[in-house]
Amino acid sequence: MRPSRSSTLRTSLVLLLLLAAFSARGEGGSAALTEAEAVLARDPARALELARAILGAEPEVPQVHAVLGRAAAQAGQPALAVEHLGRALALGGETLQLRLYLASALWETGRYDDAEASFRRACELSGAGSRGQLAWHQLGRLLLWLARAPQAVEALERAVALGSQAPDAALDLARALDLAGDPRALAAFTRAVALAPESPRARWGLAHALRAAGRREEAAAELEIYRELYQREQDSVRNGGLVRASLDFAWSLLRAGDAEAAAAAFARLGDVAEALEGRARAESARGRHREAVALLETAVRRFPDRDDLLEFLARERLAALTEAEP
């Protein structure tokens, strides 16, 4: 079991976030809309809440529906995203970004023909350059997923032509060629590995193509590299997840009022930056401000742009002055 999204859609999201960087800012005009857009990437639920509030006052503004739709898409509500992105479109708010979000949401809701049409319209809107590369790549991914190999090859060749150094597009083109039974697949996988030698999926594709070509020994060698890279990736995911869940455990203790246990739990995480902050907060809650100051001094060196930590450090320094000598 796995409570995360597929690599296909995860990559789509990353691409869409990249696209967001291209998008015009402040289309809606209102400060609230700008705020909603600003928090969209890191807190889609909050963005959704803000956009809904604006919608009450401005029900016919396409930009509001667009932000709401994007927030819904990122919050895992594709049907809601389709509704509002579609509404934005109907209100005349068509943009490349809107089309891509709408297409991805349609894909997630199983409306594959509509998703394809929306991706194709995005391709028309995108022109050349990186925007075009993104649109054609997304269309190609959908077609590949639907096993429409010849059309996927066509779209992905367009994507690669517009961004030949893009490793993901190169890998997807190789996959599409492979699915189509095209002998160029082996060369395409070789190219994908050259662009992303640390990608286990590219390595696997190359191994698969080598095996299909009867080059079993070379395939086996690639598979060993795949196995190593894959294991590294697994370890990284596991370690990252363990640290997050351990930090959250410590935070939950602190929120529950058990500062001593929280401090100990944070301490067991060593000098992980967030653990230093958490430990400082736990020590502060225990009235041990000198310990908190020492920890915060380390933490602010790690997070120099965290104004809240600096303020917290200042408060703790003040509190430490009044703390009785040990």
Binding site: M1, R2, A147, R216, Y230, D248, A250
Partner: protein, 546 residues
């Protein structure tokens, strides 16, 4: 407004009735569990602490435990986690001889230790009475069938002491060709209920289940049968020491047609295993080289259940695997010489499962057209899945095959209207009408039985062998008709945490006549029944071997 509402309601009812009336007969899969006496509610022990085992469900197994020729049903209970050490009572439903059941668990001694998971029914000691292995988060329990309708706990001194930790499922076959059934126990992960981890919303303090990727996989175990229903741990000797994925599903099948049982293991978030039997009960790891370890894109999936069947009717077993939502279920076509190709997308097998989280899977000819179909038991692990278009309770997935390896989903109003948190799934023929019915366990829910209703004559073939493997597990049955050649492999343990009936089911569409039935027994001998065999009505056939 009232008349308008009533009129609209009537129209809806009419429309629904019309839609149901237009549905094909394959949609007539009535759920009859409670009405036939299968009164059993799974207790998952859902706690605020959200222990991962609570998401897994528990197994079902078809077996004729009292030897009366009618299939009985075993349902595993789970209870509280961590387990208390007390014995947990399961459900053992004795067939009254008419397809209805009595729960005789208490007097039959149907109990186990630990937090119940899968169930494997097989005759481990070769005495003609089917035994049971109950898997658990905790120690496994070996229940020896005394042959008088009761079981005794033979776990102590069974040699299965190393099957500790979290065992999800098991499969049996005579892997080393010594005439008795060996055992592969698949273990999930190293879960510590006291681990200082918080998964969920730390701001509100509401916990959810942790991602399995946080936990290390536990090594699987392979046991050789000593010939008397006790075992020795032969994991290392068989070359299986590296089998430490997060295993959930397992089955033995002769994947390369060389006569020995190979192994396929479905792992959660790690590569699936394919171990080729060298012919002597030792194995070679061909997982990655086979192409069946990851999906077409090189991605290990969150695999749960598995079934092997000849979906494209080319004579070899293909592999079907159920996965998490927003992945798709995966179909690997057997290309020969242990090479497999992921054809999930082009076959139509994968896309319909996009928003479903699959567990148990069976392959059977559910529309009685001569081609194998699949039925998948679905249900999420999270009560509030992260995506709005993914539900906790999910419809089962019915995919109709065309016999050439392509599938299309058949939606059925009644299945759609009764979503469940389904887990284990096993085929059995408790009413002896020659077609397979579906036993389904639901996580924290009722045991269900869905009855199929044959629209063509069917043939249920059972094997009986006078060896240490009386159920002839590992045999291959080939039915040649005037229109096709259908092959089935007799297995013990597949799907998810389940054991299906050992009978193999064939439909005979109108105009088809059986020309030959061939049985290749587990040790390679062959029995052939030749000549035009007429089966005007559904028939059960028992073929006895030497």
């Amino acid at each position: 407004m009232r008349p308008v509402t009533a009129g609209f309601g009537s129209l809806l009812v009419f429309a629904t009735a019309l839609a149901a009336a237009e549905e094909p007969s394959v949609c007539r899969l009535p759920e009859v569990g409670r009405s036939v006496g299968l009164v059993f509610d799974h207790d998952r022990g859902a706690s605020a602490r959200r222990h991962l085992p609570e998401t897994m469900g528990a197994g079902v197994a078809w077996l004729d435990f009292d030897g009366d020729g009618w299939m009985d049903l075993y349902a595993v209970q789970s209870g509280v986690y961590p387990p208390t050490g007390e014995l947990v009572s399961d459900g053992l439903f004795r067939n009254r001889g008419d397809g209805t059941f009595d729960n005789v668990a208490e007097r039959a001694g149907a109990r186990h230790r630990g937090y119940g998971q899968g169930a494997l029914a097989a005759d481990f000691d070769g005495d003609g009475a089917t035994d049971l292995l109950i898997l658990a988060a905790g120690p496994v329990t070996l229940l020896r069938n005394r042959g008088d309708g009761t079981f005794e706990d033979r776990t102590a001194r069974s040699g299965l002491e190393s099957a500790t930790g979290w065992s999800s499922a098991a499969a049996a076959a005579d892997a080393d060709f010594d005439g008795d059934l060996d055992l592969y126990v698949v273990r999930y992960l190293e879960y510590d209920p006291a681990a200082e981890l918080f998964c969920g919303d730390s701001k509100t303090g509401v916990r959810d289940y942790c991602d399995p990727s946080l936990f290390q996989g536990e090594g699987d175990r392979f046991y050789r049968n000593r010939g008397d229903g006790t075992f020795e741990d032969a994991t290392a000797a068989a070359g299986l020491s590296g089998a430490n994925g997060r295993g959930l599903g397992v089955m033995f099948t002769d994947l390369d047609g060389d006569g020995d049982p190979d192994l396929y293991v479905a792992n959660d978030l790690t590569i699936n295993f394919l171990f080729a039997n060298r012919g002597d009960g030792t194995f070679e790891d061909l997982s990655l080289l086979s192409g069946a370890a990851v999906n077409r894109f090189g991605k290990p999936e969150a695999s749960m259940g598995i079934v092997t069947a000849d979906f494209d009717q080319d004579g070899d077993p293909d592999l079907a695997v159920t996965n998490f939502d927003v992945e798709t279920n995966t179909l690997y076509a057997n290309r020969g010489s242990l090479a497999f190709e992921d054809i999930s997308a082009p076959s139509g097998f994968g896309v319909p499962s996009f928003t479903l989280l699959g567990f148990g899977i069976v392959a059977a000819d559910l529309d009685f057209d001569g081609a194998l179909d699949t039925f998948v038991a679905n249900g999420h692990i999270f009560e509030k899945p992260k995506r709005a278009n993914v539900a906790y309770r999910q419809r089962p997935l019915l995919l109709l095959g065309d016999g050439a390896g392509r599938f299309r989903e058949q939606r059925c109003a009644e299945l759609d209207a009764n979503p469940q948190v389904a887990r284990a799934l096993a085929l059995g023929d408790p009413d002896r009408d020659g077609d397979p019915d579906l036993a389904i366990s639901n996580n924290g829910g009722p045991l269900q039985l869905r009855r199929t209703q044959a629209t063509s004559p069917t043939l249920a073939v059972r094997l009986s062998a006078a060896t240490g493997n009386p159920e002839a597990i590992g045999a291959r049955i080939t039915l040649k008709t005037t229109a096709r050649r259908a092959v089935r492999w007799l297995t013990a343990g597949d799907s998810y945490q389940a054991t299906s009936d050992k009978a193999q089911f064939f439909a005979l569409p109108p105009g088809e006549t059986v020309e030959e039935i061939e049985v290749r027994w587990p040790h390679g001998k062959t029995t052939r029944l030749r000549g035009t065999l007429a089966f005007p009505a559904s028939t059960s056939l028992v073929i006895a071997g030497q």
